[in-house]
Protein backbone atom coordinates (compact mmCIF):
# COMPACT_ATOMS: atom_id res chain seq x y z
CA UNK A 1 0.00 0.00 0.00
CA UNK A 2 1.67 3.23 -1.05
CA UNK A 3 2.31 5.70 1.70
CA UNK A 4 0.08 8.22 -0.09
CA UNK A 5 -2.91 5.96 0.45
CA UNK A 6 -2.28 5.25 4.12
CA UNK A 7 -3.69 7.94 6.41
CA UNK A 8 -4.94 8.10 9.96
CA UNK A 9 -8.59 8.07 11.01
CA UNK A 10 -8.41 11.67 12.20
CA UNK A 11 -8.50 13.00 8.65
CA UNK A 12 -10.44 10.09 7.17
CA UNK A 13 -13.57 9.58 9.29
CA UNK A 14 -15.22 7.27 6.77
CA UNK A 15 -12.25 4.92 6.95
CA UNK A 16 -12.50 4.89 10.72
CA UNK A 17 -16.22 4.10 10.51
CA UNK A 18 -15.68 1.42 7.86
CA UNK A 19 -13.27 -0.45 10.11
CA UNK A 20 -16.14 -1.14 12.49
CA UNK A 21 -17.85 -3.22 9.83
CA UNK A 22 -17.53 -6.90 10.65
CA UNK A 23 -14.90 -8.78 8.71
CA UNK A 24 -13.99 -5.80 6.53
CA UNK A 25 -10.27 -6.44 6.93
CA UNK A 26 -8.66 -9.86 6.69
CA UNK A 27 -7.75 -11.23 10.10
CA UNK A 28 -4.13 -11.28 8.93
CA UNK A 29 -4.09 -7.50 8.79
CA UNK A 30 -4.90 -7.44 12.48
CA UNK A 31 -3.08 -10.45 13.93
CA UNK A 32 0.42 -10.33 12.56
CA UNK A 33 2.55 -11.78 15.27
CA UNK A 34 2.43 -15.40 14.21
CA UNK A 35 4.00 -16.24 10.86
CA UNK A 36 1.38 -17.59 8.51
CA UNK A 37 3.82 -19.16 6.12
CA UNK A 38 6.42 -21.83 6.52
CA UNK A 39 9.85 -21.62 4.99
CA UNK A 40 12.55 -24.14 4.25
CA UNK A 41 16.01 -23.01 3.19
CA UNK A 42 19.34 -24.54 2.33
CA UNK A 43 22.59 -22.59 2.40
CA UNK A 44 26.17 -23.25 1.49
CA UNK A 45 28.88 -21.08 2.97
CA UNK A 46 32.46 -20.99 1.72
CA UNK A 47 34.74 -19.15 4.13
CA UNK A 48 38.42 -18.47 3.88
CA UNK A 49 40.74 -16.28 5.89
CA UNK A 50 44.39 -15.27 5.65
CA UNK A 51 47.07 -13.01 7.00
CA UNK A 52 49.89 -11.36 5.03
CA UNK A 53 51.89 -14.14 3.39
CA UNK A 54 49.88 -17.09 4.63
CA UNK A 55 46.46 -18.64 4.27
CA UNK A 56 44.74 -19.66 7.45
CA UNK A 57 41.36 -21.25 7.92
CA UNK A 58 39.07 -22.53 5.26
CA UNK A 59 35.54 -23.56 6.16
CA UNK A 60 32.88 -25.13 4.00
CA UNK A 61 29.51 -25.20 5.64
CA UNK A 62 26.17 -26.45 4.36
CA UNK A 63 23.17 -25.67 6.52
CA UNK A 64 19.41 -26.19 6.58
CA UNK A 65 16.67 -24.17 8.18
CA UNK A 66 12.96 -24.73 8.53
CA UNK A 67 10.16 -22.67 10.03
CA UNK A 68 6.85 -24.47 10.07
CA UNK A 69 3.55 -23.30 11.55
CA UNK A 70 1.38 -26.19 12.74
CA UNK A 71 -1.80 -26.93 14.69
CA UNK A 72 -3.08 -23.39 14.15
CA UNK A 73 -1.17 -21.69 16.99
CA UNK A 74 2.23 -23.35 17.06
CA UNK A 75 5.44 -22.96 15.14
CA UNK A 76 8.47 -25.17 14.91
CA UNK A 77 11.80 -23.68 13.99
CA UNK A 78 14.97 -25.66 13.49
CA UNK A 79 18.33 -25.63 11.82
CA UNK A 80 21.24 -27.94 11.23
CA UNK A 81 24.73 -26.81 10.23
CA UNK A 82 27.76 -28.86 9.31
CA UNK A 83 31.15 -27.16 9.29
CA UNK A 84 34.19 -28.66 7.62
CA UNK A 85 37.16 -26.60 8.81
CA UNK A 86 40.73 -26.97 7.73
CA UNK A 87 43.85 -24.91 7.86
CA UNK A 88 46.20 -23.28 10.29
CA UNK A 89 45.43 -21.26 13.36
CA UNK A 90 47.92 -19.15 15.27
CA UNK A 91 49.90 -20.39 18.27
CA UNK A 92 50.28 -16.81 19.37
CA UNK A 93 49.78 -13.50 17.59
CA UNK A 94 50.11 -14.40 13.92
CA UNK A 95 52.58 -17.21 14.20
CA UNK A 96 50.93 -20.23 12.70
CA UNK A 97 51.02 -23.77 13.98
CA UNK A 98 52.87 -26.43 12.01
CA UNK A 99 56.00 -26.01 9.95
CA UNK A 100 54.22 -25.23 6.73
CA UNK A 101 51.11 -23.92 8.40
CA UNK A 102 48.93 -26.69 7.07
CA UNK A 103 47.28 -27.17 10.42
CA UNK A 104 44.25 -29.25 11.23
CA UNK A 105 41.02 -30.52 9.81
CA UNK A 106 37.97 -30.33 12.00
CA UNK A 107 34.31 -31.08 11.64
CA UNK A 108 31.48 -29.57 13.59
CA UNK A 109 27.83 -30.53 13.58
CA UNK A 110 25.30 -28.33 15.28
CA UNK A 111 21.56 -28.21 15.45
CA UNK A 112 18.89 -26.26 17.22
CA UNK A 113 15.14 -26.48 17.53
CA UNK A 114 12.50 -24.25 19.01
CA UNK A 115 8.79 -24.68 19.52
CA UNK A 116 6.62 -21.62 20.06
CA UNK A 117 3.01 -21.39 21.15
CA UNK A 118 1.11 -18.27 20.18
CA UNK A 119 -1.67 -16.79 22.29
CA UNK A 120 -3.77 -13.75 21.65
CA UNK A 121 -1.34 -11.22 23.09
CA UNK A 122 1.79 -13.19 23.88
CA UNK A 123 3.87 -16.13 22.80
CA UNK A 124 6.11 -18.58 24.61
CA UNK A 125 8.94 -20.45 22.96
CA UNK A 126 11.18 -23.20 24.27
CA UNK A 127 14.30 -24.27 22.48
CA UNK A 128 17.41 -26.35 22.65
CA UNK A 129 20.72 -26.38 20.84
CA UNK A 130 23.53 -28.87 20.52
CA UNK A 131 26.93 -28.50 18.95
CA UNK A 132 29.55 -31.20 18.60
CA UNK A 133 33.10 -31.28 17.39
CA UNK A 134 35.95 -33.61 18.18
CA UNK A 135 37.11 -31.59 21.15
CA UNK A 136 34.12 -29.57 22.14
CA UNK A 137 30.49 -30.19 23.03
CA UNK A 138 27.97 -27.51 23.78
CA UNK A 139 24.38 -27.89 24.96
CA UNK A 140 21.93 -25.08 25.47
CA UNK A 141 18.31 -24.60 26.47
CA UNK A 142 16.33 -21.41 26.07
CA UNK A 143 13.03 -19.79 26.92
CA UNK A 144 11.62 -16.91 24.89
CA UNK A 145 8.55 -14.93 25.89
CA UNK A 146 7.07 -12.13 23.85
CA UNK A 147 4.04 -10.01 24.42
CA UNK A 148 2.56 -7.25 22.32
CA UNK A 149 0.04 -4.45 22.48
CA UNK A 150 -3.44 -4.95 21.02
CA UNK A 151 -2.54 -2.93 17.93
CA UNK A 152 0.64 -5.00 17.42
CA UNK A 153 2.75 -1.87 17.17
CA UNK A 154 4.85 -2.67 20.23
CA UNK A 155 6.38 -6.03 21.08
CA UNK A 156 8.31 -6.78 24.26
CA UNK A 157 10.68 -9.73 24.36
CA UNK A 158 12.29 -11.51 27.25
CA UNK A 159 14.73 -14.35 26.73
CA UNK A 160 16.66 -16.62 29.00
CA UNK A 161 19.13 -19.33 28.09
CA UNK A 162 21.61 -21.62 29.75
CA UNK A 163 24.69 -23.14 28.10
CA UNK A 164 26.79 -26.04 29.26
CA UNK A 165 30.05 -26.53 27.36
CA UNK A 166 32.62 -29.29 27.65
CA UNK A 167 36.07 -28.84 26.21
CA UNK A 168 38.37 -31.83 25.85
CA UNK A 169 41.29 -31.09 23.54
CA UNK A 170 42.74 -33.96 21.60
CA UNK A 171 46.27 -33.76 22.84
CA UNK A 172 45.86 -33.47 26.60
CA UNK A 173 43.48 -33.92 29.45
CA UNK A 174 41.83 -30.93 31.04
CA UNK A 175 40.51 -31.44 34.52
CA UNK A 176 38.57 -28.21 34.40
CA UNK A 177 37.26 -28.22 30.85
CA UNK A 178 33.70 -27.21 31.63
CA UNK A 179 31.92 -23.94 31.23
CA UNK A 180 28.42 -22.80 32.22
CA UNK A 181 26.76 -19.64 30.99
CA UNK A 182 23.45 -17.92 31.68
CA UNK A 183 22.14 -15.39 29.16
CA UNK A 184 19.32 -12.88 29.56
CA UNK A 185 17.70 -10.68 26.98
CA UNK A 186 15.16 -7.88 27.32
CA UNK A 187 14.03 -5.99 24.26
CA UNK A 188 11.36 -3.96 22.58
CA UNK A 189 10.34 -3.66 18.95
CA UNK A 190 8.28 -0.64 17.95
CA UNK A 191 6.57 0.46 14.75
CA UNK A 192 7.31 4.18 14.62
CA UNK A 193 5.39 4.98 11.45
CA UNK A 194 4.11 3.18 8.37
CA UNK A 195 7.69 3.21 7.12
CA UNK A 196 9.84 3.10 10.27
CA UNK A 197 10.51 0.33 12.74
CA UNK A 198 13.06 0.13 15.55
CA UNK A 199 14.25 -2.61 17.87
CA UNK A 200 16.38 -2.28 20.97
CA UNK A 201 17.72 -5.21 23.00
CA UNK A 202 19.81 -5.43 26.13
CA UNK A 203 21.56 -8.71 26.85
CA UNK A 204 23.49 -9.85 29.85
CA UNK A 205 25.58 -12.98 29.95
CA UNK A 206 27.34 -14.41 32.98
CA UNK A 207 29.47 -17.49 32.88
CA UNK A 208 32.12 -19.38 34.72
CA UNK A 209 34.41 -22.18 33.75
CA UNK A 210 37.06 -22.75 31.19
CA UNK A 211 37.62 -19.83 28.83
CA UNK A 212 41.21 -20.35 27.73
CA UNK A 213 42.22 -21.49 24.29
CA UNK A 214 43.95 -24.88 24.70
CA UNK A 215 45.64 -24.69 21.31
CA UNK A 216 47.51 -21.53 21.97
CA UNK A 217 51.05 -21.97 23.15
CA UNK A 218 50.36 -20.03 26.31
CA UNK A 219 46.87 -18.95 27.21
CA UNK A 220 45.20 -18.60 30.61
CA UNK A 221 42.02 -16.65 30.92
CA UNK A 222 39.84 -15.76 33.91
CA UNK A 223 37.33 -18.38 34.89
CA UNK A 224 34.49 -15.88 35.01
CA UNK A 225 33.08 -13.63 32.36
CA UNK A 226 30.24 -11.11 32.34
CA UNK A 227 29.08 -9.39 29.19
CA UNK A 228 26.60 -6.54 28.77
CA UNK A 229 25.44 -5.60 25.29
CA UNK A 230 23.01 -3.04 23.93
CA UNK A 231 21.87 -3.50 20.34
CA UNK A 232 19.62 -1.07 18.49
CA UNK A 233 18.41 -1.63 14.95
CA UNK A 234 16.35 0.67 12.80
CA UNK A 235 14.79 0.13 9.38
CA UNK A 236 13.36 2.82 7.16
CA UNK A 237 11.41 2.17 4.00
CA UNK A 238 11.80 4.52 1.05
CA UNK A 239 8.65 3.86 -0.94
CA UNK A 240 9.46 5.80 -4.11
CA UNK A 241 12.88 4.31 -4.85
CA UNK A 242 11.48 0.96 -3.55
CA UNK A 243 14.31 0.44 -1.07
CA UNK A 244 14.90 -0.14 2.63
CA UNK A 245 17.69 1.33 4.74
CA UNK A 246 18.84 -0.87 7.61
CA UNK A 247 20.97 0.56 10.42
CA UNK A 248 22.33 -1.07 13.53
CA UNK A 249 24.56 -0.21 16.44
CA UNK A 250 25.77 -2.45 19.23
CA UNK A 251 27.72 -1.45 22.29
CA UNK A 252 29.27 -4.22 24.36
CA UNK A 253 31.07 -4.27 27.68
CA UNK A 254 33.08 -7.35 28.54
CA UNK A 255 34.55 -8.17 31.94
CA UNK A 256 37.60 -9.46 30.11
CA UNK A 257 38.31 -5.77 29.61
CA UNK A 258 37.49 -4.79 26.08
CA UNK A 259 34.58 -2.50 25.18
CA UNK A 260 33.40 -2.80 21.62
CA UNK A 261 31.21 -0.90 19.19
CA UNK A 262 29.71 -2.27 16.00
CA UNK A 263 27.98 -0.20 13.31
CA UNK A 264 25.99 -1.80 10.50
CA UNK A 265 24.38 -0.30 7.46
CA UNK A 266 22.66 -2.00 4.56
CA UNK A 267 20.56 -0.80 1.64
CA UNK A 268 18.02 -3.26 0.30
CA UNK A 269 17.16 -2.15 -3.21
CA UNK A 270 14.26 -3.74 -5.06
CA UNK A 271 14.75 -4.20 -8.77
CA UNK A 272 12.37 -5.37 -11.49
CA UNK A 273 11.69 -9.08 -11.63
CA UNK A 274 11.41 -9.51 -7.84
CA UNK A 275 15.15 -9.08 -7.42
CA UNK A 276 16.76 -7.35 -4.47
CA UNK A 277 20.31 -6.09 -4.37
CA UNK A 278 21.76 -5.39 -0.93
CA UNK A 279 25.13 -3.73 -0.45
CA UNK A 280 26.18 -3.67 3.20
CA UNK A 281 28.95 -2.29 5.36
CA UNK A 282 30.00 -2.97 8.93
CA UNK A 283 32.54 -1.17 11.07
CA UNK A 284 33.67 -2.78 14.30
CA UNK A 285 36.12 -1.61 16.93
CA UNK A 286 37.20 -3.27 20.15
CA UNK A 287 39.55 -2.55 22.98
CA UNK A 288 42.00 -5.19 24.13
CA UNK A 289 41.31 -7.61 26.97
CA UNK A 290 42.99 -6.65 30.27
CA UNK A 291 45.19 -9.72 30.06
CA UNK A 292 46.22 -9.34 26.43
CA UNK A 293 49.91 -8.65 25.95
CA UNK A 294 51.36 -7.70 22.61
CA UNK A 295 54.62 -8.88 21.06
CA UNK A 296 57.27 -9.94 21.78
CA UNK A 297 55.85 -13.22 23.01
CA UNK A 298 55.68 -14.04 25.95
CA UNK A 299 56.28 -10.66 27.50
CA UNK A 300 53.83 -9.80 30.25
CA UNK A 301 53.25 -13.36 31.35
CA UNK A 302 53.25 -13.88 35.10
CA UNK A 303 52.59 -17.20 36.71
CA UNK A 304 49.17 -17.33 38.41
CA UNK A 305 47.74 -14.45 36.35
CA UNK A 306 45.70 -14.40 33.18
CA UNK A 307 47.55 -14.07 29.90
CA UNK A 308 46.66 -14.27 26.25
CA UNK A 309 48.45 -13.58 23.00
CA UNK A 310 45.36 -14.31 20.97
CA UNK A 311 44.92 -11.46 18.49
CA UNK A 312 41.17 -11.84 18.79
CA UNK A 313 41.50 -10.20 22.19
CA UNK A 314 43.74 -7.39 20.97
CA UNK A 315 42.62 -3.84 20.22
CA UNK A 316 41.67 -3.42 16.61
CA UNK A 317 39.11 -2.14 14.16
CA UNK A 318 37.53 -4.15 11.41
CA UNK A 319 35.46 -3.46 8.34
CA UNK A 320 33.21 -5.70 6.33
CA UNK A 321 31.89 -4.86 2.88
CA UNK A 322 29.30 -7.13 1.39
CA UNK A 323 26.89 -7.46 -1.47
CA UNK A 324 23.92 -9.77 -1.74
CA UNK A 325 21.55 -10.46 -4.61
CA UNK A 326 18.30 -12.34 -4.16
CA UNK A 327 15.37 -13.28 -6.34
CA UNK A 328 11.91 -14.44 -5.33
CA UNK A 329 9.66 -16.42 -7.61
CA UNK A 330 5.86 -16.35 -7.62
CA UNK A 331 5.45 -19.91 -6.37
CA UNK A 332 7.47 -19.26 -3.21
CA UNK A 333 10.95 -20.27 -4.34
CA UNK A 334 13.82 -17.93 -3.65
CA UNK A 335 17.53 -17.89 -4.36
CA UNK A 336 20.31 -15.72 -2.98
CA UNK A 337 24.01 -15.22 -3.41
CA UNK A 338 26.22 -13.03 -1.27
CA UNK A 339 29.85 -12.09 -1.06
CA UNK A 340 31.55 -10.45 1.93
CA UNK A 341 35.05 -9.19 2.44
CA UNK A 342 36.46 -8.57 5.95
CA UNK A 343 39.66 -7.03 7.20
CA UNK A 344 40.89 -6.51 10.72
CA UNK A 345 43.66 -3.99 11.45
CA UNK A 346 44.94 -2.66 14.74
CA UNK A 347 45.28 0.75 13.10
CA UNK A 348 41.55 0.90 12.40
CA UNK A 349 40.59 1.00 16.03
CA UNK A 350 38.48 3.94 17.14
CA UNK A 351 38.34 5.48 20.62
CA UNK A 352 41.88 4.44 21.44
CA UNK A 353 45.09 2.97 20.12
CA UNK A 354 45.24 -0.39 18.44
CA UNK A 355 47.56 -3.09 19.70
CA UNK A 356 51.07 -2.70 18.31
CA UNK A 357 52.81 -5.24 16.22
CA UNK A 358 49.78 -7.27 15.18
CA UNK A 359 49.46 -8.07 11.52
CA UNK A 360 46.30 -7.48 9.59
CA UNK A 361 43.83 -10.32 9.27
CA UNK A 362 41.49 -10.75 6.32
CA UNK A 363 38.63 -13.03 5.43
CA UNK A 364 36.11 -13.50 2.70
CA UNK A 365 32.95 -15.58 2.60
CA UNK A 366 30.56 -16.52 -0.14
CA UNK A 367 27.11 -17.82 0.59
CA UNK A 368 24.58 -19.35 -1.78
CA UNK A 369 21.07 -20.20 -0.67
CA UNK A 370 17.80 -21.60 -1.91
CA UNK A 371 14.53 -21.29 -0.04
CA UNK A 372 10.92 -22.31 -0.47
CA UNK A 373 7.89 -20.84 1.27
CA UNK A 374 5.05 -23.23 1.97
Amino acid sequence: MAATEAKSAAINPLLAAALALPGILPAAALAQSMPDQGIFSVNYLDYRDWQPGADRMSVKSPSFYVLAPFADKWTFEGSVVYDAMSGASPLYFNTLSGASGTGITEYRTAGDAKVTRYFDRYSIGVGGAYSHERDYISRAGSLDVRWWTADHNTTFAFGFAGNADYIHPADRELDNGRRHTLDFLAGVTQNLSPVDIVQSNITYSTGHGYYSDPYKLLDTRPDERRIWAWLTRYNHRFVQPDATLQLGYRYLNDSFGGDSHAFDVAWVQSLPGNVTLTPSFRYYTQGAADFFFGPPFPQGFQFGQSFTADTRLSAFGAMTAGIKVAKVFADGWGINLSFDFYRQRSGWRAFGAGSDGIEAFSARWINAGVSKAF
Binding site: A29, M57, R139, N153, N191, P194, T244, D254
Partner: protein
Protein backbone atom coordinates in the same frame (compact mmCIF):
# COMPACT_ATOMS: atom_id res chain seq x y z
CA UNK B 1 27.72 1.37 32.77
CA UNK B 2 24.92 -0.94 33.84
CA UNK B 3 22.86 2.06 34.89
CA UNK B 4 23.31 3.67 31.50
CA UNK B 5 22.04 0.58 29.74
CA UNK B 6 18.94 0.26 31.91
CA UNK B 7 18.14 3.93 31.41
CA UNK B 8 18.60 3.55 27.67
CA UNK B 9 16.09 0.72 27.49
CA UNK B 10 13.65 2.62 29.70
CA UNK B 11 13.89 5.63 27.43
CA UNK B 12 13.27 3.41 24.45
CA UNK B 13 10.12 2.03 26.10
CA UNK B 14 8.86 5.42 27.21
CA UNK B 15 9.47 6.88 23.79
CA UNK B 16 7.29 4.17 22.30
CA UNK B 17 4.27 5.39 24.25
CA UNK B 18 4.36 8.82 22.62
CA UNK B 19 4.51 7.54 19.04
CA UNK B 20 1.37 7.81 16.91
CA UNK B 21 0.06 4.25 16.53
CA UNK B 22 0.24 2.75 13.05
CA UNK B 23 -3.19 1.64 11.80
CA UNK B 24 -3.72 -1.89 10.45
CA UNK B 25 -4.24 -0.70 6.89
CA UNK B 26 -0.99 1.25 7.05
CA UNK B 27 1.16 -1.79 7.73
CA UNK B 28 1.71 -2.90 4.17
CA UNK B 29 5.27 -1.53 3.98
CA UNK B 30 6.19 -2.75 7.47
CA UNK B 31 5.24 -6.30 6.51
CA UNK B 32 7.92 -6.45 3.83
CA UNK B 33 10.71 -8.93 4.60
CA UNK B 34 13.37 -6.21 4.36
CA UNK B 35 11.60 -4.28 7.15
CA UNK B 36 11.45 -7.21 9.55
CA UNK B 37 14.32 -7.81 11.95
CA UNK B 38 14.35 -11.56 12.20
CA UNK B 39 13.91 -12.09 8.52
CA UNK B 40 16.82 -14.23 7.35
CA UNK B 41 17.57 -16.38 10.38
CA UNK B 42 20.07 -18.64 8.67
CA UNK B 43 22.12 -15.73 7.39
CA UNK B 44 22.05 -14.10 10.80
CA UNK B 45 23.29 -17.33 12.39
CA UNK B 46 26.35 -17.81 10.24
CA UNK B 47 27.22 -14.10 10.25
CA UNK B 48 27.04 -14.01 14.06
CA UNK B 49 29.10 -17.17 14.22
CA UNK B 50 31.86 -15.75 11.99
CA UNK B 51 32.17 -12.55 14.02
CA UNK B 52 32.03 -14.43 17.30
CA UNK B 53 34.97 -16.58 16.26
CA UNK B 54 37.13 -13.75 14.94
CA UNK B 55 36.32 -11.00 17.41
CA UNK B 56 36.05 -10.90 21.15
CA UNK B 57 32.49 -9.68 21.40
CA UNK B 58 29.29 -11.62 21.14
CA UNK B 59 25.78 -10.81 22.11
CA UNK B 60 22.81 -8.54 21.65
CA UNK B 61 20.95 -10.47 19.03
CA UNK B 62 19.33 -13.36 20.83
CA UNK B 63 19.88 -16.07 23.38
CA UNK B 64 20.19 -19.78 23.19
CA UNK B 65 22.46 -20.69 20.32
CA UNK B 66 25.05 -23.36 20.91
CA UNK B 67 28.66 -22.36 21.28
CA UNK B 68 31.68 -23.66 19.44
CA UNK B 69 35.39 -24.06 20.03
CA UNK B 70 36.33 -21.86 17.12
CA UNK B 71 39.84 -20.88 16.30
Amino acid sequence: MRRILIVALAIACAGCATVTPVKPWEKGELARPSMQFDNDRLEAKYTEHIYQSKEMASGGHGVGGGGCGCN
